[in-house]
């Protein structure tokens, strides 16, 4: 009477099938790592690691070629750092406004509009950066000959930086807003009850309390900026240039990969392998940043939830 009426093999089969689906995610990561490792190892059999990691000349097309990755890492960092200079204050200010100052109705309309920015295809942002931001914003506003001047340049790091900032502000704003709203009401009320002004409460009480979530959002934004391809491909330029000067054109790591690996490039060639070596560096950089960001989010969730 209490025995199972049928063997129910189906139940067990379903469990395994579903587990297989979950396992696919592990397989994907393995596949990424495996596909990067092979050619990268092959690359380092030809190009000495010292030249790669410490050289600043990235000139694969020269004879003899030079593979100093800092030439393109500098390009990526150039774009990312200048973009963060704009994105972080704008993003955080927006977040503070959304969580502490905006009325519920304003919040309800504003937040979805910011989310729209996240959905704009990066090819559109890149195109916008090079056709509008560069000629209409940077060139007129740039002070004369500072750092070589902005006039007459079809591509520059700063144009890509501002494009990336536009893409990334909603990420910082949204996640920081979530972090600040997770701070218990008790903290708000306690501070206001002591007679503190809104500005003080926001900056001295809520902001520090939400700090780990806010930092997580910034780290995530940096990771997105480092991995971004189309904006730098269209707006920043295509010649490697190891500089942090925002008004010069550079080539970012992602742009190098996109330019070199399109179409039929011979599997065994050094250029092909260099794509994977650069990809490995990119993957490692973003992986480290993502792990940090996830840890930070977990920490702030633990305290408040």
């Amino acid at each position: 009477m209490l025995q199972a009426q049928n063997k129910r093999y189906g139940e067990r089969a379903i469990k395994w099938l579903l587990a297989l689906c979950a396992l696919l995610s592990v397989l994907t990561t393995t596949a990424i790592i495996v596909s990067l490792i092979g050619p990268t190892v092959g690359f380092f059999e030809i190009v000495p690691a010292g030249e790669f990691f410490f050289g600043v000349d990235w000139t694969p097309q020269f004879e003899p070629p030079s593979f100093g990755v800092l030439g393109i890492v500098a390009g990526t960092l150039n774009v990312v750092l200048w973009s963060m200079l704009f994105a972080i204050p704008l993003g955080l200010a927006t977040a503070v406004y959304l969580s502490e100052y905006a009325s519920p109705r304003v919040r309800k309309t504003l937040k979805p509009i910011l989310e729209v920015l996240v959905g704009v295809p990066t090819v559109a942002i890149g195109f916008f950066a090079v056709t509008f931001i560069l000629p209409e914003i940077i060139v007129p506003l740039w002070p004369g000959e500072l750092l070589g001047g902005a006039a007459g340049k079809p591509f520059m790091a700063l144009a890509a930086s501002l494009g990336i900032a536009l893409m990334v502000v909603p990420i910082i704003a949204s996640l920081s807003d979530d972090a600040m709203r997770a701070v218990p009401r008790g903290l708000h009320e306690g501070a206001y009850a002591l007679g503190a002004t809104k500005a003080k409460v926001a900056t001295r009480v809520i902001f520090p309390a939400a700090l780990s979530g806010i930092v997580a959002s910034v780290v995530l934004a940096i990771s997105r900026a480092v991995g971004e391809t189309m904006i730098v491909l269209i707006a920043a330029g295509s010649t490697p240039n190891a500089t942090f000067n925002p008004v010069e054109s550079i080539q970012a790591m992602t742009a190098y990969i996109a330019t070199t690996a399109t179409g039929d490039i011979a599997s065994g060639s050094l250029d092909y392998k260099s794509v994977f070596a650069v990809g490995a560096v990119l993957f490692a950089m973003t992986l480290i940043m993502n792990v940090i960001s996830i840890r930070l989010v977990r920490r702030y969730r633990e305290v408040y939830e």
Binding site: L2, Q3, A4
Partner: protein, 281 residues
């Protein structure tokens, strides 16, 4: 006054009733312990539950009444850290035997929960869910009607069977859950404080229902409400919390188990008397 039932003392300080008048035993519990991650929640429960009785489990909060109830339909299986030790017989068969299928157990032993939990479906689909899961495809209309009548809900919902279950009031939702439970024609119905989330009028309706239902089902009910236990049940078990020497760990113990009238008018144990007279608990 009912005649004195002979008491078999296993331990001097706790009494257990092996009741000869019990027509047929549904459950026999022998030395049941329930542990969560190795820590005992309930210790050494030994009792027998009779067929077509309403058996009430009463006692202060935290004494493990719900934990014990959930052993009877193997719902504790759903908690990975839970472990049940001892012997639990259902109609003479070991409920925790190696070949026993918990799914089958729950088809025979149903449960009504403390907070009404109707499915986000229509009233009809809620009641029909059990039979459908059992493989029934036709004759569902009759099954649904019979179940709703059995739960004293038919007249109130017969014109709106396709409405969402959440459109019902709390008391109606709980009766819907009862209808859902009896639609699969179980042998036993377990009720875990079924009225604690309801208003007094709904509570009264469900108490009347219980007296009707015991004609067809054996019922075990956990309740905080002593008046309810006194009004509705045939037998009552009183559980209490016991602390260990350093007062760190606590677990539930069965203090006294007897005919309801006896428990409430002339309990054998002083602790029972303190609890039912409201001095403690």
């Amino acid at each position: 006054m009912t005649e004195q039932t002979p008491k078999i003392s296993v331990r001097p300080e706790f009494r257990q009733a092996a009741v000869p008048q019990m027509k047929e035993k549904v459950f026999e519990l022998k030395g049941i312990d329930v542990l969560y991650s190795g820590v005992a929640a309930v210790r050494d429960i030994s009792m027998e539950i009779g067929r077509k009785d309403v058996t009430a489990l009463i006692g202060p909060s935290g004494c493990g009444k719900s934990t014990l109830l959930r052993c009877l339909n193997r719902m504790n299986d759903l908690i990975p850290a839970a472990e049940v030790q001892g012997e639990l017989l259902y109609h003479g068969e070991d409920l925790y035997g190696p070949n026993v299928d918990p799914v089958q157990v729950r088809k025979l032993i149903g449960m009504v929960f403390q907070k009404p939990n109707p499915f986000p479906k229509s009233i009809y689909d809620n009641v029909a869910f059990g039979p459908r899961v059992l493989g029934r495809k036709d004759g569902l209309d009759e099954v649904v009607e019979k179940a709703l009548r059995g739960a004293a809900l038919w007249d109130e919902v017969k014109d709106r069977l396709r409405d969402n279950a959440f459109s019902l009031s709390g008391g109606q939702q709980q009766r819907l859950c009862i209808a859902r439970c009896i639609a699969v024609e179980p042998d036993v119905i377990l009720m875990d404080e079924p009225c604690s989330a309801l208003d007094p009028i709904s509570t009264g309706k469900i108490e009347d229902l219980m007296i009707e239902l015991k004609e067809r089902f054996s019922i075990v009910i956990v309740t905080h409400n002593m008046q309810q236990a006194a009004r509705v049940s045939d037998r009552t078990a009183f559980l209490m919390v016991e602390l260990d020497a350093e007062e760190h760990n606590r677990w539930g113990r069965l203090v006294e188990y007897d005919a309801t009238e006896k428990i409430f008018t002339n309990p054998a144990d002083k602790r029972t008397e303190d609890y039912v007279s409201g001095k403690v608990g």
